[in-house]
């Protein structure tokens, strides 16, 4: 490991507990404590440094920054509501798709699959997690978009006479839009939601499941009656972790969302998200524009940290309730 350990010295020498050895011990304790504290230090530094850097852009008009929909770097008008809206809409689409699918996969792995096939399914989900996000963006922007574009057009035509739906699903031009971004995000969230859901299902007491079967329940009735009610809290936490992942995803979204500014109720229209706009405009930005982009990052950071923190608390509490012990 690290260079602190001297090569093999006979342990008897240490038995006396000389001052030097005691000092090494104390030094080591300090060293590992410092390493542990790095996490807190880095998180704190992220918040402080980026906030300070972004302050000029935000302070000019904090209300405009959070609620304005006009984003014009040349005029130094920085309204980020459109990006917040894009982040919320795309991650909502992702959640609507990913949560049921992930819970289904987790149920399949824990309850349906045989031991041997279980391994392969876990591998599939793990592999999905290892694909770099930029590759999802590449496949999305070059392969997926030409495929889904006609489907969008067809669907917009189908729902055109339906009031309400025709506002959400309207004309589409390029296929680079909120909905495509939501689809890609859904795929990227599946691994994390699945793995946490599996952990949650694993804490359901076996006696409850066997009890349900003994009462004559079918497998589905057992899942409905024994597993799901027990796991509800944990599943909420798992979904929130997925949500945090979806809101922070940058590159895949930047490649497929189109990069329009403002709020658009049409899911088939191009838009932008908080994370994606930073990646898209970073190269050409400078001065206050860069600071404003960092400001978007600060808001995103606050939101995702809050969501992740709550999710961890929810998951932990659910586990404690179930097992009656700390994990």
């Amino acid at each position: 490991m690290t260079a602190t350990a001297p090569p093999e010295a006979p342990p008897e020498i240490d038995l006396g507990g000389e001052a030097r050895s005691r000092r090494t011990d104390r030094g080591f304790t300090g060293l590992v404590a410092l390493a542990g504290l790095t996490v807190l230090i880095v998180l704190g530094l992220i918040l402080v440094t980026t906030s300070v850097q972004a302050w000029p852009a935000i302070a000019a008009d904090p209300i405009e920054f959070l609620t304005g929909t006009t984003w014009d770097p040349n005029e130094e008008i920085f309204g980020t509501l459109g990006f917040l809206y894009g982040t919320l809409v795309t991650s909502l689409i992702a959640m609507i798709i990913a949560v049921p699918v992930s819970i289904g996969i987790a149920l399949f792995i824990t309850e349906v699959a045989h031991r041997r096939s279980r391994k392969y399914i876990v591998t599939i989900v793990d592999l999905l997690a290892t694909v770099p996000s930029v590759v999802f963006g590449l496949v999305g922007s070059i392969v997926l978009i030409p495929w889904v574009q006609p489907i969008y057009q067809w669907w917009a035509g189908v729902v055109a006479p339906v009031p309400g739906l025709n506002v959400i699903f309207d004309e589409t031009n390029t296929g680079r839009n909120y909905f495509t971004a939501g689809l890609i995000l859904a795929v990227m969230c599946i691994p994390i939601i699945t793995s946490i859901s599996r952990e949650v299902f694993a804490t359901v007491p076996d006696i409850d499941k066997q009890g349900a079967y003994a009462l004559g329940a079918t497998r589905w009735e057992m899942i409905k009656g024994a597993i799901l009610p027990h796991s509800f809290g944990g599943l909420v936490g798992a979904s929130m972790l997925g949500l945090g992942r979806a809101m922070g995803e940058t590159i895949a979204v930047a490649l497929v969302i189109g990069g329009a500014i403002g709020v658009n109720t049409n899911l088939f229209a191009p838009g932008n998200t908080m994370a994606a706009v930073i990646a898209q405009q970073w190269g050409e930005s400078g001065g206050l524009h860069t600071d404003a982009l960092i400001g978007i990052g600060v808001v995103l950071f606050a939101i995702t940290v809050l969501i992740n923190f709550l999710a961890r608390v929810v998951v932990r509490r659910a586990e404690i309730q179930m097992k009656g012990a700390h994990s």
Binding site: M1, T2, T4, A5, D14, L15, D25, F28, T29, V32, A33, A35, G36, T38, V39, L40, V42, L45, I46, T50, G104, L107, F108, V112, I121, V125, T130, V131, P132, S133, V134, V135, L138, V139, S141, I142, V187, I190, L215, T218, R219, W220, E221, L241, R245, G248, T250, I251, A254, L255, I278, A279, I294, L300, T304, I307, N308, F309, A311, R312
Partner: protein, 300 residues
């Protein structure tokens, strides 16, 4: 529940043959739906694998791995050598920075902090940190390092990736330390070893395979990161062996840079780079798996 056998000595038929139609359809339907979910997850994976291999494989040749990246997006032809070197160098530097700190941090959590409030808080915050968007790490290093130094450098990218890897290394190492049997620690202190010697000489070696495999997974994840790289390293096409000297490049950055161009030549290069990147990431993942399964400590 609906069919109750009354009276007689005949045991209830539990074979499921006398299930009501509604219940059996609900059960079958649910099983099919659950199976369908697995298919939905397998589909995008198959799509990605098929597309990346079929479109990227044609660009692979000896030249691909050693040639320079063409400056013009329209120029067809091979060359991703700088990006491959950049990926390895920047990720390697990030690993050098984050793994020692992460392992020591995990030692604190599992050997010293245990259930103290501070340790529990650090544990929760490490979990929270794994959920921090990767671009945020880039922005942090940009503000805290790039602006101070005055130039985007490969080392900045390594710092950002290190921030990303740190919580993953800490949490996976801690899991592994927890598996080390307490008897080993007791035997060591029974022989008179001080705590730091117990940790360095007994606990860490016992958990070394698990720590290595967890760290490799963190490396694999960092190697594929794009957002922090384009913020701190820049989007260029040359590799500089000196990570402190100006802009650099990685495979992920090359995929992003080339994919956003409308030209066939650059898109081909993006596919080739994607295949190369996935190959590297999978290599790390597989090696990590092998280490984890071959050299694992007996868990029970």
């Amino acid at each position: 529940m609906t069919t109750l056998q009354s009276g007689g000595p005949t045991p209830p038929d539990l074979s499921g043959r006398n299930l009501s139609l509604r219940r059996s359809i609900a059960d079958r339907g649910a099983t099919v739906l659950i199976g369908l979910c697995v298919l939905i997850a397998a589909l995008p994976l198959a799509l990605v694998a098929w597309q990346v291999v079929s479109r990227g494989a044609s660009s692979w040749s000896l030249d691909w791995f050693i040639e320079e990246i063409p400056r013009n997006y329209r120029t067809a032809g091979p060359g991703m050598g700088p990006a491959i070197l950049g990926t390895l160098a920047i990720t390697g530097m990030a690993a050098l920075l984050s793994i020692p700190i992460g392992v020591l941090g995990a030692v604190y959590l599992n050997e010293y902090g245990k259930n103290k409030p501070l340790a529990r808080f650090i544990r929760t915050m490490a979990d929270v940190m794994t959920g921090v968007p990767s671009i945020m790490m880039g922005l942090f290093i940009y503000v805290g390092y790039v602006i101070v130094i005055g130039d985007k450098t490969g080392f900045g990218g390594a710092l950002a990736l290190a921030c990303l890897m740190l919580p993953i290394v800490i949490r996976s190492t801690e899991e592994m330390l927890r598996l080390v049997p307490d008897e080993l620690r007791q035997a060591s202190s029974g022989l008179g070893a001080r705590k730091w010697r117990t940790v360095m000489g007994v606990v860490l070696p016992a958990a070394s395979s698990g720590i290595t495999s967890g760290s490799l997974l963190a490396v694999a994840r960092a190697a594929g990161e794009t957002a922090p790289i384009i913020v701190t390293v820049g989007l260029t096409y040359v590799y500089k062996p000196d990570l402190f000297d100006g802009q650099n490049t990685t495979l992920a950055a090359q995929i992003f840079r080339n994919a956003s161009q409308p030209f066939a030549a650059s898109q081909d290069r993006a596919w080739g780079a994607a295949l190369t990147l996935i190959a590297i990431v999978f290599l790390f993942t597989i090696v990590s798996r092998i280490i984890a399964s071959r050299f694992a400590i007996d868990k029970r």
